[in-house]
Amino acid sequence: MLEVVDLHVRYGAIRALQGVSLRVAEGELVALIGSNGAGKTTTLRTISGLLRPTQGSITFEGVDITRAASDRIVSLGISHCPEGRRIFGGLTVAENLRLGAVSRPRSEAAAVAEDLAMVLELFPLLRERRDQAGGTLSGGEQQMLAIGRALMSRPRLLLLDEPSLGLAPLMVERIFATIAQLKERGRTILLVEQNVHHAFDVADRAYVLETGRITLDGPAGVLRSDPKVEQSYLGVGGVAL
């Protein structure tokens, strides 16, 4: 479904990605793990057209999207739920969700309404808060809103960037339960996560990114017991960060 080949991205003189290749098949949940600054967010932003690669290619369902504009990529079926949630704090919950469907033509109004019902069913809390300004929500609620907003474009591939960032443990559990639920419903997801334990729990496969390069990849269950992963990301005794 998604095929990234030899991706290079630079920020001025800094080479953020130096030949990243990865693929995501339909219905799969693939995790991209790595420490701070490894290039995880850069990878997602390049896929969704927010950054331009200097080299390499990105293909989505057979279409070359390497240099496509971000709005076209959304219409093609990739939705990006950004790191740090980045909801529109001055707009209401309902307005945030409606904006998520901005790429869809007017003729899809009925389908948009369906998706809205689906999102509100997935996150009942958002229904209660729908007339409230997004900025007044708690961190966990904002994360739900960010995921809901990303779902409103009815993506075939969902890019999730650090959904557990800065959330209380209980809320992290809930968010991951939701991610598992989305996977069960057949969503294809590329998940960037520092919370490696949780990521391995839900992922089919995973890639390990280190300073702009993929150093390891394989089924989540295999990577979990890889000595190198255990040492660098899971910590001695398997205690997560």
């Binding site: 939705s79 529109f88 001055g90």
Partner: protein, 357 residues
């Protein structure tokens, strides 16, 4: 449902009726000073609302608005000038323009003036579209500098296109068509349009890309589109304000349309609240009123320049102490005036909440 809608229209409707009645009294009173002040206030309110759309809703800080106003003023004034006057006054005008005179009346109503205002505004809109296609790609300081460049270019062109504008000499003899009612009706149109844009899907896109450009792009907002819509509509109304101004003041020169006016409107916008329609109206009322009072003080104390200093200080205080201005992005929920619960309940929720969701 219809009852509800009627009640929603009640608040704004009541205000419109009240102001209209006030204007009728003002007109009958023959108080030229107060009439002039009201017209001035109306024109400034239109300018502030237009800038609010262009800059407040989108966060794209445009300093070129007064350039659009200047173009609107000159183009409409040339169009309404009677043929005889054009001959004597702008004798080098090309033939196709020298024959145009939009000074027709339909009974007591100068429809030629309406035509000239709209034609000028459409022309300015076309220019804004061309300029905006390039400039709206920029952000932050860059767009401010680039639009400032546009303002300077307009000024240079007006000074040098003396065939059309008489250059640095005063352009006078403009037909005094503008009255309280023209300004009031145009103001209502502007308030309505800007209000509707704010609550429309494209308005939401404007606010979203202003708050977080990257997040907006990530969900598929085409950042250029909402910005360009805002820029172009803002230019249209700025041109209308220019036309109203030209036919009110009746003589002007390119020097009028420059920094002083630019910053006066920005002050009104910032004090009222970037993104708030009602805020723009309050900001314009406050600053026009204050300027008038300060002018009296200047005359009495001979401290000329005092009003500029006071306005600058107010501006600085607002952006340090209360960055969002009076209202921020919020609105005075006039439409709830006659609803049960009224204004107080409205304050608890965000008024823009979409009932259909």
């Amino acid at each position: 449902m219809t009852g509800d809608r009627l009640r929603r229209a009640g608040g704004p409707g009541a205000v419109i009726l009240l102001v209209s009645a006030g204007l009728a009294v003002l007109e009958a009173s023959g108080q030229a000073f107060w009439q002039g002040l009201a017209i001035n206030l109306g024109i400034f309110t239109i300018l502030t609302l237009a800038l609010n759309l262009t800059s407040g809703f989108t966060g794209v800080f445009s300093l070129g608005q007064i350039g659009f106003m200047a173009l609107g003023a000159y183009v409409s004034a040339i169009l309404t000038l009677p043929v005889g006057l054009k001959d004597a006054y702008l004798s080098d005008l090309p033939d196709w323009l020298a024959g145009v005179h939009l000074d027709q009346m339909a009974g007591p109503v100068p429809i030629g003036f309406l035509g000239a205002t709209v034609v000028a505004a459409l022309l300015v809109t076309a220019i804004a579209w061309l300029v905006g296609r390039v400039l709206m790609r920029l952000s932050g300081h860059f767009v401010a500098v680039a639009t400032l460049g546009f303002l300077v270019i307009v000024r240079v062109v007006l000074f040098n296109a003396d065939t059309f504008t008489r250059g640095s000499r005063t352009f006078s003899n403009v037909t005094p068509n503008t009255n309280l009612w023209w300004v009031w009706i145009w103001l209502l149109v502007v308030v309505y349009v800007v209000w509707r844009v704010k609550r429309s899907p494209v308005g939401r896109e404007m606010l979203a890309q202003r708050e977080d450009r990257l997040a907006a792009q990530a969900i598929g907002v085409r950042v250029l589109d909402p910005r360009l819509v805002a820029f172009v509509i803002g230019a249209f109304f700025s041109s209308v304000a220019g036309s109203l101004y030209a036919h009110f003041i009746t003589s002007f020169s390119p020097t009028v349309f420059y920094f002083d006016l630019t910053f006066r409107v920005i002050t009104m916008l910032v004090i009222g609240g970037m993104g708030s329609v009602s805020g723009s109206i309050l900001g314009a009322i406050g600053i026009v009123g204050l300027t008038e009072v300060l002018r009296r003080v200047e005359d009495a104390t001979l401290l000329y320049g005092l009003s500029q200093i006071v306005l600058a200080v107010i501006f600085i205080v607002v952006i340090t102490v209360r960055r969002d201005g009076l209202l921020g992005q919020r609105e005075i929920p006039l439409d709830r005036l006659f609803l049960r619960g009224g204004l107080r309940r409205a304050a608890a929720t965000v008024p823009e909440a979409d009932q259909r969701l």
